[in-house]
């Protein structure tokens, strides 16, 4: 029970120190919106022609997304979709995919 109390206290502190209570699974949930095309957890079906995002370095993913947003990188659809997410959301998504195998 002692461990329980400690964990609960840490959680309480974490929650109260955040101005807006963000869902701890926010990054996971946001990244899941990409999975329709890029595969579950960023593992695209082999041979499908879609980019796998799992394990991609965060800075690389963010640069690609920034280029799609600015129009520097030509795209069929990602220039439109990337604009639907805030930079903070894209950061969470890129962080999540970088941690996937």
């Amino acid at each position: 029970m002692k461990i329980f109390t400690t964990v609960a206290t840490v959680c309480l502190l974490a929650a109260t120190s955040t101005a807006q209570a963000a869902d701890p699974n926010l990054a996971r949930n946001l990244a899941a919106t990409c999975a329709n095309c890029h595969g579950t957890n960023g593992n695209a079906v082999k041979g499908s022609g879609m980019d796998s995002l799992a394990g991609m370095e965060k800075a690389k993913t963010l640069q690609k997304l920034a280029d799609f947003k600015s129009g520097d990188k030509p795209a069929s659809i990602m220039h439109q979709i990337s604009k639907g997410y805030t930079d903070e959301q894209l950061d969470l998504i890129a962080t999540y995919f970088a941690a996937q195998k």
Binding site: A21, D23, L26, N29, T33, N36, M50, I81, K83, G84
Partner: protein
């Protein structure tokens, strides 16, 4: 079938649950319980998998689906056009069963008892749930087309708006049609399932005629004032590719049919076709429509966008085409998959004693073939807005293809392979 005791069923998952029993800052507790999902299409299959995956086996999931395999509506117009087969659009439920530990029952739900939190099955027996997910797609409002009320009439004048035997039957009618014949497709007033779908189908039938029955014609009888989706791109395809083959008529609502003469009856006119394809107006699938949930326009289920939960009946979540959509949100398979993930995340929070995430996001892409190779898309991203309590399309995001192109023809097939895997394997 005997009444299933939840505690017996939960024993099965106890070992898996013990593997990840430590609490984290994720909340008050780890999610556990039994979720029953009704309907194994784009919404239901997705949530079944994601509940199992995200709970690391902690939540038990039963999926009740009347068909033995998943057959995709997206891409099915290519079967009707003749460039794909039914095998190409069929996926087994084995991945959900064997890899993800979803209990898949081939049956139909006869009734829901929201107070007792049980459902009863058509084949007999009942089971209890902690949370119920209804993802039943649509059913047709046959009263709106009285001549189509009988099963016999429905086997002659097809909708093929649910992929399966009707898809095959419509293809056969087109193959059997003589050259010089006319295929007519009727579109109900929006909202309906897959806004660009009827226009895509018209294109693919026109493409088939051009190559195989060049004297034949396609006529679109659209109940709407104008082309509902990707208007500029579809009209350009009709002008460039199908001039003299495809005719578009707006404000042409089919009010009834005469089955014997294969005639569509419009308000002031009649239209006789060799192959008549009537898509009747539709509403939330039967089980969602008759279970006492609050409906809008007596057709679509009103839901809370933080959890996809019925606004009238706590504990019952509704996904996909059956819901009253958020502003500009299409009824699409892609969107149903997104609903499934939104609801999976919310349910796992709720089962752990937490509130659903306050900032859900969903997005959509719809690819349409204008011939066997060239494709056009429409995309959108929708973010939750606390003021309007719904997900709103992000201004400046989303849009359509610059022009039809073969690259997106390949992307559309890649999309299908990935979304099917995302749901089912």
């Amino acid at each position: 079938m005997m009444l299933m005791k939840r505690r017996d069923f939960l024993k099965v998952g106890a070992a898996a649950g013990a593997m990840s029993a430590l609490y984290g800052c994720a909340g008050g507790g780890k999610a556990s319980g039994h979720v029953v999902v009704v309907g194994g299409g784009y919404g239901g299959a997705t949530i079944a998998k994601y509940l199992r995956m995200w709970s690391e086996g902690g939540v038990q999931v039963t999926l009740i689906e009347r068909n033995p395999t998943f057959i995709s509506c997206p891409i099915s117009n290519l079967v009707i056009g003749g460039s794909k087969t039914m095998e190409d659009i069929t996926v087994s439920y084995d991945g959900l069963k064997n890899r993800w530990g979803v209990r898949v029952i081939q049956d139909e739900v006869a009734a829901v008892d929201a107070a007792k939190k049980t459902i009863s099955l058509k084949a007999g027996g009942s089971m209890s749930y902690d949370r119920l997910v209804l993802s039943p797609g649509v059913d047709f409002m046959w009263d709106e087309i009285p001549g189509l009320k009988t099963a016999e009439a429905q086997s002659k004048i097809l909708h093929a708006w649910k992929a399966g035997p009707q898809t095959v039957a419509l293809r056969k009618q087109l193959e059997a049609m003589k050259d010089g014949g006319t295929y007519a497709i009727s579109i109900p007033k929006a909202p309906y399932r897959c806004p660009p779908g009827p226009y895509e189908r018209a294109c693919l039938v026109a493409d088939y005629f051009k190559k195989n029955k060049p004297k034949s014609k396609v006529v679109i009888l659209d109940a709407n004032e104008d082309v509902v989706s990707k208007k500029g791109l579809f009209m350009k395809a009709w002008g460039d590719l199908y001039k003299g083959t495809l005719e578009y008529r707006n404000n042409a609502e089919v009010k009834d049919v005469d089955v014997a003469s294969n005639t569509a009856i419009l308000e002031f006119d009649k239209f006789k076709a060799d192959v008549l394809n009537v898509i009747p107006p539709h509403r939330a699938g039967d089980i969602a429509h008759k279970s006492g949930l609050k409906l809008i326009n007596n057709r679509w289920v009103d839901i809370n966008w933080l959890s996809m939960e019925s606004t009238s009946t706590p504990g019952i979540h509704v996904l996909g085409d059956a819901i009253f959509p958020a502003p500009t949100m299409p009824k699409s398979g892609h969107m149903a998959n997104q609903h499934g993930k939104l609801a999976a995340a919310a349910i796992l929070n709720q089962l752990a004693g937490l509130e659903p995430s306050p900032t859900p996001v969903v997005m959509n892409t719809c690819y349409s073939f204008v011939d066997a190779k060239n494709v056009i898309h429409v995309s959108s991203v929708h973010q939750y807005d606390a003021a309007t309590k719904t997900v709103q399309p992000v201004k400046g995001a989303g849009g359509v293809s610059a022009a039809r192109n073969e690259l997106e023809g390949k992307v559309a097939i890649g999309w299908a392979k990935n979304i099917w895997a995302d749901m089912l394997t």
